[in-house]
């Protein structure tokens, strides 16, 4: 009995950490410039495909290609900022909607492009150091790719926290606090934004690579994860790293428990239900500034 | 003179910082009252309490004998309190006339009378020629006028002006002063918040000086300028700011 409970709880934790990392990138960008990136799930999907391609054609193990894909996504993030977001920020009318729909259009475009290049069918990475392996500790089965993914997520979170303590992190924080004043103290706002996008994309890239180790890869895989990520970010509080971590794990657990006790197909309903309830009492999320 | 507004022992703190402590004063019908004080004196907090935007922790505010504190800005507007904003808040998707019509609808259900009232108000405020311009297209002094017009369109008994004259050139300020006198001549009571004493004192019948959240003194402009406490509070503030 204990083993079953543990199994459920650990399963929730392993998935929750992935959710948390996907959400962290979204939260970072939002906190920095008040933009919700509706193409976030598609960035994750691209990272998964990058992992798939590197695995299939270069025989790289997902763990090995982490830095490569993270770097690729960083570049893509910067590119998206420079090419689209900077423009969206500069419009003088209807800015809120323009931001939503520019990133949304980008999401559709990326999804279409992925379908064009890779086709619509599901793919998966099924060889590698950890692929398909499980460890068993005290009657609890631990799928190793997921364990590795969770560990990487924790490391990535630690990395994000470390970055937030560096010079760049302080510049990020200052830019978030007062977007106009930072120009006065010699911070190049545009550059910070671009780096923020790079970092946000790299973060979700890391999550995507690790996810590709045990999850199917397809052009529409991002949509579902993105929705969970929005809920995670809103639940944790936009812009809060800690909030993303706590909310991500919470959502993973709620899903696991619902699936075990009630009905797997309803697991998201209870997640969304809890989100709505929390918003009743804390309209800006668990860790959001009121 | 009958008291139009009575502020009674109002206290308010934000996150442990006291913005207003035991503030009491009365505003007589028809007068122009100045609300002055150095930065951080609690003017904005008090102003927002009268406008209904902020609920006092203690004490109460009465408009012609009826309690209005804690009832919210909508009720305050309905009871006859109009206000402007320090940082202009125009409705930028609308024309100037449409902006003022939003205010006029507070007293008129139907569009035709609301439009007529709004046009008259615009005329009164000297903005009639700008009626069909988009609101964002106005110059800064015109935007301040628009705020006054919008508030006047709600037919207020009491008009709250938040730093309406600050930052204007002398000529612009002069026409602003004229507008305020015209409004008063219509029988509207006015409270003006200003940071700079020199702007307000020539205009008001009495002024309330706030310092560190408390009422420092209340009196006529002559009494205010001679009061040593006022001078100290202001000079101290200037030295601190320098």
């Amino acid at each position: 009995m204990t083993a079953i409970i543990l199994q459920v709880v650990i399963g929730g934790l392993l998935m929750g950490l992935i959710y948390a990392l996907v959400a962290a990138g979204l939260s970072l960008i939002f906190g920095l410039m008040d933009i919700v990136n509706f193409a976030h799930g598609e960035l994750m999907m691209l990272a998964m495909f990058a992992a798939f391609v590197l695995w299939q054609y270069a025989g790289l193990d997902p763990l090995m290609m982490l830095p490569v894909v993270a770097l690729l996504l960083f570049g893509l993030g910067v590119l998206i900022y420079r090419g689209l977001i900077a423009r969206a920020l500069s419009v003088s009318f209807n800015r809120g909607m323009v931001q939503i729909f520019v990133t949304f259009g980008l999401a559709i475009f990326i999804r279409g492009a992925a379908q064009f290049v890779f086709g619509g069918e599901f793919k998966s990475i099924n060889t590698g150091w950890l692929a398909g392996r499980t460890a068993q500790i005290g009657g609890v089965y631990l799928p190793l790719p997921q364990v590795a993914a969770s560990l990487v997520c924790l490391v990535a979170f630690a990395g994000l926290l470390a970055i937030s303590r560096t010079e760049f992190g302080r510049a990020l924080e200052a830019t978030r606090e007062d977007r106009d004043a930072v120009a006065l103290i010699g911070i190049d706002r545009d550059r910070i934004f671009a780096l923020g996008w790079g970092l946000g994309a790299a973060t979700v890239g890391v999550a995507g690579v690790m996810l590709a180790g045990f999850y199917y890869v397809a052009p529409n895989v991002g949509a579902n994860f993105a929705l969970i990520a929005y809920v995670t970010v809103a639940l944790g509080g936009f812009g809060s790293l800690l909030g993303a971590l706590v909310a991500g794990v919470l959502i993973g657990e709620v899903e696991a428990v619902t699936a075990a006790l009630l009905e797997p197909s309803l697991k998201q309903v209870s997640v969304f239900g809890i989100y709505m309830v929390v918003l009743m009492f804390r309209p800006r999320g668990l860790f959001g500034k009121l | 003179m009958a008291a139009l507004l009575r502020v009674d022992c109002v206290s308010k703190s934000f996150g442990g910082v006291a913005a207003n402590v035991d503030v009491s004063f009365e505003v007589a019908a028809g007068e122009i009252l100045g609300l002055i004080g150095p930065n951080g004196a609690g003017k904005t907090s008090l102003f927002n309490a009268i406008a209904g935007e902020v609920t006092p922790d203690r004490g109460e505010i009465r408009l012609v004998g009826e309690r209005i504190s804690g009832l919210g800005p909508v009720t305050c507007a309905e009871r006859g309190i109009g206000r402007t904003f320090q940082v202009v808040r125009s409705f930028d998707s609308m024309t100037v006339l449409e902006n003022v019509m939003v205010g006029a609808y507070a007293r008129h259900r139907r569009t035709a009378p609301a439009m007529k009232a709004a046009m008259e108000t615009l005329d009164f405020c000297g903005l009639a020629s700008r009626a069909d311009r988009p609101a964002y297209n106005l110059s800064p002094p015109e935007k301040r006028r628009l705020e006054v017009a919008r508030a006047l369109a709600t037919k207020p008994r009491l008009l709250l002006l938040d730093e309406m004259l600050t930052g204007l050139t002398p000529t612009e300020a002069q026409s602003g002063v004229q507008l305020i006198r015209d409004v008063q001549a219509q029988g509207v009571t006015i409270i003006m918040v200003e940071h700079v004493m020199e702007i307000v004192l020539p205009l008001v019948s009495r002024a309330v000086v706030l310092n560190l959240g408390r009422v420092l003194t209340i009196g006529s402009p002559e009494e205010i300028v001679r009061n040593p406490d006022v001078i100290r509070a202001y000079l101290g503030d200037r030295y601190a700011a320098a």
């Binding site: 419009v91 729909f101 475009f109 | 449409e98 939003v102 609808y105 507070a106 709600t154």
Partner: protein, 332 residues
Amino acid sequence: MDNRITRRRRRELVVGAVLLVALILLPLPIGDVYTRNLIIISILFAGLAQAWNILGGYCGQISLGHSLYFGIGGYVSTLLFVQAGVPPLIGMFAGGLVGGLVALLVGWPCFRLSGHYYAIATVVVAEIGYLLFLNWDFVGGAMGVYIPFKGDSWLALQFRTQKLPYHYVVLAFAAATWLAAWCIEGSRWGFSWRAVKDDVVAARSLGVRVFPSKMAAAAISGFFTGMGGAIYAQYVGYIDPDSTMSGQLAILIALPAVLGGVGTLWGPFLGAAVLTPLSELSRSYLGGSGRGVDLMIYGLVIVVVALARPAGLLSLFGLRRRAKGAPDGSPA
């Protein structure tokens, strides 16, 4: 009173009437079913976008969950017809009413949220609805409900081969949404809603009741969206969660309004006239291969229009406002 506002409103009414006549005549010379279908879908989405515009455009509440009201409206009229024999011509009003009611239920918690929190909450609420319908056996679960054909009838909105009657049904629907928007624009409600959109604090200070304004806008918007869902279900003869309640659909409803010109009378129609044929045509000519070229084109159009014409395609025509000068670039 004769001034620019009243003159403009009268002119809009005239243009609306002319357009209505043109659209009544439009399908008559067109024989082929494909084109007629395209026109019907475009007009339906024009009406849906206008319904969205009432809440999103005039009141500024960016709902990304209108698929919920659309789907529920469709289910209500369908189930009333299939289970209780209520003719859809009446059922679609029931669908609209329930849609409006649900919009009020959603608004109650969600309107306490602002900005992105609101937008995401609407996505989530719609997703909850979608998942519940997907798992609810009474409404057919993922399989959905087929609407049995009971013979050509206006009351049942069923026509075996003809497209023309549907054309007039969706046209009446779109015209009704337009008329509603026109009435709102010139009324106290419309002014209050736009004030709420532009600046909540200033609106309150002028006596505008913010929450009731949002609720009223949501109810009307939800009503028309639900009605559109009912018409759609009757048109395709089938309803399931994927085709009527998906998040994708919520975007399809909002998009024409946003890209056409949000908060304007003609923007949603213009947006639907451009976007719906574009998406349908690219899907049938390029999407057949399943290679995603249609999605790429569609996504690209959204990005380009949103960036190049932030005020919407309508601003190309210089109709109303923003003819010169940037909104924040007031002359010093």
